[in-house]
């Protein structure tokens, strides 16, 4: 991005949108970095008006202290060596003698402790991104540049300890220096600009650094599932030609890239990413490969298998249906450009990634890309339950369709709905669900963590998180509803339910409990139709008798007149709402 492009993006930000306020804390002149940061954040948050403020030149600790009093949602900290001791930068005339360098290291260590302490005082709802020094150190150590000096290693050691301490804090992300090195190669330092203006970064490096900070402050929603081909992808070879024992993924056969791919799929699956198979093959032959004990990807981590001779796009459609997620949440991996093109045309939202058979450099880049697309800072209990509950959902659906009548089936499901009326402050699951759910979602609104915490901390707020389990297993926490008391009314601003929990009448149980708990006769829903919230539109249409166009009220009488029989046991926990 050029500076002119960045200025243009900032200038065209939506003025009427809710603001997203960021503090940029750095010891140098923030000019270009601030503009680039604002532009990159604006691109990632197009519905918000991003505003980036900065502190005083040379006063990083002071800027951090002021964040506690400023109503900001995010904090970007761009450290450079001179913030730790001016002698570690070029603008100082302080000595580079051995005793002075040793003293500078002591000062730097103390400065890092002071910074860690100041960061610890930043309110927990503020999302923080930290970049460690990105510029080269001056030639102040006595060893040649190609030899690591003890003092330099000591400095790096102090810095690593500081970063490790910070990385343990929830809501704080530390930029990966190795990744930034790849994305922003030298020269990063602009000596004349630094010495004359206090602007140490080249514009290209300021852009790369800002992009990194923006990605940390406003991360993209992780993908939820990977649909993979098998032949020349999960393994080397065409199983239909060479048989189940002929395909390989081993080092000896020079096919280890396929083992690495399997290993990544297994690891992602353990973190809650769904893995499904779309393969043009004979299902019986594929089943035999999945019985091989040397397979790195355990077959029980894969669901569903679409193995037949039908078009891949139709397999992907069926897998999306089984997972009940949108195409935008899914990656499709295949070695065939033709298959990728066929799927991309049928499902434009799916991210199509080619498996670069035989090209190890491209293969490793692909593994990193998949990891990055699916990366999630926290793995919740719900993530580990997801695969099991999808299998359960498929079983549930089969039983509904082929077993007893649906009504008696629901009656015999032995279901329990647990409502937590006051989830712990800082519990990330509620916000995660709100920001990830598309289909049963009242209005599609997404929130920054700070916005959400402020919203639920209001004294008139009603917040409930619902969990579900039945005789088929647990679904975990699958619903969030948030509203505000307004006299005799309850105004519901947020309501989402995981698609894994559809068809169990949990949404009806939720409203019944909400009417009873709030003792109101009417609830007003801040509903807004979105391209993807069809399921909640259908639910409201069922009760109201017509499709709502926007916000609307619903009386308890209206609701009860349409509410079907509910068979759940209900458990409530949390303090009085």
């Amino acid at each position: 991005m050029t500076l002119a492009e960045a200025l243009n993006i900032v200038r065209n930000a939506p003025n009427e949108a809710g603001s997203f306020d960021v503090m940029l804390a750095c010891g140098f002149t923030p000019l270009h970095l601030r503009t680039f940061l604002c532009a990159h954040l604006q691109q990632r948050l197009p519905q918000r008006l991003v505003r980036v403020g900065s502190g005083l030149y040379g006063d990083l600790p002071g800027t951090l202290e002021r964040v506690s009093g400023d109503p900001v949602q995010a904090l970007a900290i761009a450290l450079e060596w001179s913030d730790l001791d001016p002698r570690l930068g070029y603008r100082s005339t302080g000595s580079w003698s051995e005793p002075a360098v040793r003293d500078a290291l002591n000062v730097a260590a103390a400065a890092l402790r002071q910074l860690a302490s100041a960061i610890g005082r930043v309110p927990s709802h503020v999302r923080i991104a930290v970049s460690l020094p990105t510029l080269p150190l001056p030639p102040l150590f006595r060893t040649p540049g190609w030899q690591a000096s003890g003092n330099e290693l000591l400095l790096e050691h102090e810095l690593s300890g500081f970063a490790l301490e910070l990385a343990g804090r929830r809501g704080l992300a530390v930029a990966n220096r190795r990744c930034l090195e790849e994305e922003s190669p030298p020269p990063r330092y602009h000596p004349k600009s630094d010495l004359s203006l206090g602007l140490p970064h080249t514009p290209a490096h300021a852009d790369a650094l800002a992009f990194t900070l923006a990605r940390l402050l406003a991360p993209a929603a992780p993908k939820k599932g990977i649909v993979t081909d098998l032949d020349d992808t999960v393994w080397d070879g065409i199983v239909g030609e060479v048989g189940p024992d002929g395909v390989s993924w081993d080092l000896a056969g020079h096919h280890h890239l396929h083992a690495l791919y399997q290993k990544l799929l297994a690891a992602l699956s353990a973190r809650g990413i769904l893995v499904g198979v779309a393969s043009k093959n004979d299902a019986a032959v594929v089943e035999k490969v999945f019985q091989r004990p040397d397979l790195v990807l355990p077959p029980d981590r894969v669901f569903p298998f679409e193995v037949h001779w039908d078009a891949k796009s139709r397999s992907v459609a069926r897998i999306l249906g089984a997972w009940n997620i949108a195409a935008e949440d899914v990656i499709f991996v295949d070695d065939s450009p033709m298959e990728l093109a066929e799927v991309a045309e049928a499902h434009p939202g799916v991210r199509c990634v080619r498996f670069p058979k035989g090209d190890y450099q491209a293969g490793l880049a692909m593994l990193r890309e998949l990891r990055d697309l699916c990366a999630n800072e926290e793995v919740s209990e719900e993530d580990s339950l997801r695969l099991g509950s999808l299998r359960q959902g498929a079983r549930f659906q089969r039983l509904v369709e082929s077993g007893p009548a649906p009504e008696s089936f629901l009656e015999q499901a032995d279901a329990t709905v647990t409502v937590d009326w006051h989830p712990a402050f800082g519990d990330s699951r509620a916000l995660e669900l709100v920001n990830k759910t598309n289909q049963f979602n009242l209005n599609g609104l997404r929130f920054a963590e700070a916005d959400w915490q402020l919203r639920v901390a209001q004294p008139d707020t009603v917040l409930a998180v619902l969990s579900y389990e039945d005789k088929f297993g647990q679904l975990g926490r699958i619903m969030v509803i948030q509203g505000r008391r307004n006299g005799p009314l309850l105004e519901v601003d947020t309501w989402v339910m995981s698609c894994r929990a559809f068809a169990r009448r949990i949404e009806y149980q939720c409203l019944r409990m909400l009417f009873a708990r709030s003792r109101v006769s009417e609830i007003r829903f801040a509903f807004r139709p979105t391209p993807r919230n069809g399921p909640i539109q259908e639910f409201f249409t069922e009760i109201l008798g017509q499709k709502p166009e926007g916000a609307f009220p619903m009386t308890n009488v209206q609701f009860e007149a349409k509410c079907p029989p509910l068979y759940h046991r209900v458990k409530e926990c949390g303090s009085e709402a």
Binding site: T2, L3, L7, L31, K192, S196
Partner: protein
């Protein structure tokens, strides 16, 4: 406007978004309220991106009008120089 003036005008409007194209030719530090030292630095970086001509920071103080920037650019381009001037 010739080609250099048009491109330079585009740079000015990137930094001073409220400025009309016709106003840019006459723009000076005195006549443009938003034109402070930081705006000069931003302008220089934008011009560098547009023309691939690096202006030495020592000359920043002299760049007080559209005309000064234009003179600098035409000299740099006529001399066929694409590095520091």
């Amino acid at each position: 406007m010739n080609d250099i003036e048009k491109r330079l005008s585009k740079c000015f409007r990137a930094v001073f978004p409220d400025m009309a194209e016709a106003q840019t030719l006459a723009a000076t530090q005195e006549s443009v309220e938003a034109w402070d030292s930081l705006a000069t630095v931003t302008l220089v970086t934008v011009i560098d991106d547009e023309f691939r001509v690096e202006l030495d920071v020592e000359y920043l103080a002299e760049m007080t009008s559209f005309g000064k920037f234009y003179e600098f650019l035409t000299a740099a381009i006529q001399n066929g120089r694409d590095s520091s001037v």
